[in-house]
């Protein structure tokens, strides 16, 4: 395991043109370490697609398809049906961002989960439409300043609370639904392996710090992924057969204050002490809710 960690994956090659320090690419590396070569990927439109397949180049070492923004899950259903006819046990994996998952693609994801196909859906959650210039999505956290929810004299940024996508996944009866962050690559790899072992649909949501979106240092993606967990804002979670079976919030969990996380990100720099208090409340609620 220790050796494995730093090995580059043979399924995602260097040479893609993601931003320096991109948190999503850290997560993608960890995901790829959990996959085997008998896998087909269906990818939604977004940063990952744009930066990894600039024709005539491709960074993918696995069979990979991109169709549209909102339909990666339905495309995966079609792949799965074709494989069934071919009597192949090939794994089907969907990759999408939070915009493609929480917003525009949610109806098709629901349809896919309803059909109970053996497909793993991975959401790289950058908490905004990173690819189009950091507009707010259903995954944007409360009080974050984005280009469509800018902080201003009369606004402290997004006034909507982040949608609970994990709960939506669980409501579909998924046997495996989990959450991780780019701060814990091994956790991601382990969860990928567990998700793939399940017979039926599974869901993994990975907080993927976005350098230009979060307005942070280019060496900060892993640190931010860790702080999201240690503050309780984005705990590492695992639901098996609908039950919380693993959580970073245990009896021994000693949370850092949310300010430690917020102060390193430009998207929160407009916040005053009273605003930060509100976000601390959200973290406290999480700590209550996800305690194992």
């Amino acid at each position: 395991m220790q050796n494995n960690k730093t090995l580059p994956s043979k399924f995602i090659f260097p040479g893609h043109n993601a931003c320096a320090g991109c948190g999503q690419l850290v997560a993608v590396q960890a995901v790829m370490r959990g996959l085997n070569s008998d896998t087909i990927i269906s990818n939604a439109t977004g940063c990952l697609e744009v930066t990894s397949t600039s024709y005539p180049q491709s960074a993918w070492g696995l069979p990979w398809i991109h169709s549209l923004f909102e339909n990666a899950s339905a495309v995966a259903s079609g792949i799965s049906a074709a494989l069934k006819q071919k009597k192949k046990k090939t794994k089907v994996v969907v990759q999408g961002g939070d915009g493609g998952t929480y917003d525009i693609g949610i109806g098709l994801i629901s349809g896919m989960w309803e059909r109970e196909e053996n497909i793993l859906y991975i959401c790289y959650d950058t908490e905004a439409y990173s690819n189009t210039g950091i507009q707010a999505s259903g995954a944007t956290p409360y009080d974050a300043s984005t280009t469509t929810t800018p902080a201003g004299l009369k606004s402290t940024g997004s006034q909507q609370v982040k949608k609970d996508m994990l709960a939506i996944a669980l409501a579909h009866g998924l046997k495996y639904a989990a959450q991780s962050t780019a701060g814990y690559p091994d956790d991601i790899t382990n969860k990928i392996k567990k998700a793939l072992a399940v017979d039926g649909p599974s869901y993994l949501q990975i907080l993927s710090p976005c350098i230009p979106g979060w307005k942070m240092r280019t060496d900060g993606a892993v640190l931010m992924g860790k702080l999201a967990v240690t503050t309780g804002l984005y705990p590492l979670l695992e639901y098996t057969n609908g039950q919380l079976t693993s959580s970073s919030i245990t009896d021994s969990f000693r949370p850092q204050t949310v300010n430690e996380y917020l102060k390193l990100q430009g998207r929160f720099k407009h916040l005053k002490a009273k605003d930060i208090k509100e976000i601390q409340k959200l973290a406290n609620q999480n700590i209550e809710k996800y305690k194992l």
Binding site: S37, D38, T39, I40, S42, N43, E49, V50, T53, S54, Y55, P56, S58, W60, G61, L62, P63, W64, I65, H66, S67, L68, E70, N71, A74, V75, A76, S77, G78, I79, S80, A81, A82, L83, K84, Q85, K86, T90, G107, L108, S110, G111, E114, R115
Partner: protein, 398 residues
Amino acid sequence: MISKNKKQILEGSNAIALTIKNIAPAVVSAFPITPQTHIVEDLAKMKADGLASFEYIRAESEFAAASIVLGASATGVRVYSATSSQGLLLMTEVVFNIAGMRLPVVMTVANRSVSAPINIWNDHGDAMAVRDAGWIKFFASNHQESVNQHILAYKIAEKLQLPVMINVDGFILTHSYEPVIIPDDKTIKKYLPVYQPPTGTYLDPKNPVTLGAFFGPNNYLETRQMLHEDLMSSLEIIKEEYKLLNKTLANQGANHQRQKLSRIDNGLIEYYGPQKPKTILIAMGSVIGTILETIKNFKDVGLLKIKVYRPFPAEEIVKIIKPAQNIAVLEKAISLGQSGPLYADLAATVMASKIKKNLNLKNYIVGLGGRDITQKMIKEIIKDAPQKNNYLKFIGKI
């Protein structure tokens, strides 16, 4: 040798479903919309009764259905879907994507008007909304033609890696009964071999490829040009394949040419009427029967039926209309703010061919939202065609 017992009286939808069963796609996905429903219900029942072995994937929207067949097709198997009207419009983004990705998807469109106002009956507004998507578009005028066009569609699609849409008039063709011969699976297989796309063109872990990559300004234009040129060159291939299909189906009695009603029938167009007509009516789909019946009493009137609308068979059309003085384009669609889309295509064709400067080219919009097109209306159009008056007329009531 025609065995008489092969001819059956079938509902149009049932005829299509039985043909699809014999063509044996691996994956079928659809979402119900009137008047497409009977086709997909029949396919679901065939699957339930063990008469067909395809995966039938129940989609939660037409958008999903189109995406599902896209994914399956990209995995290298034969696929089928069917839709209508709003369903086709909801699919639009995927329809364009399928063509751009060069996937041989075959889909039936049970043509129906587009909302608002909501109306479930037949016209060609839906098909025209995706006119520029890059699909080959067949229009059928009766059940046998619809059956044969479905078989032809798969051959063309798989040979050229191009999607094909078969347009059948909603209710008029989908819900009516006609004598029809469904070619058996053995005969179809002779014409349409088991589908196996070349290695490296589909999703396969043994040969990983990237499909649907990101194209910049340096590459995008050429891919669109290539798609256009491939569509244009499919015209000749459709003609060849149509001949071959008719030859294959002759022993089943299902070859369309057998009826010998038309002077010219090459898969792209059909022409009925005198060699030197004064007036030619041009139309697509089920209205052909009514027009044909009407022009029997007019010695100098011919009828040109367009069977392949995209790619547009301009050269074939020019050959037919050359001797005529008056051209009346009858259309069940309107490009709002311009004219009927077929009329615009004709005008461009006439202009480019320089056949006649003073040709009288007129457009009659008929049958929208299921309005009956009567022989009386057609007679009126024949009478109006040589008149120098408005080039565009809506013919509703006479």
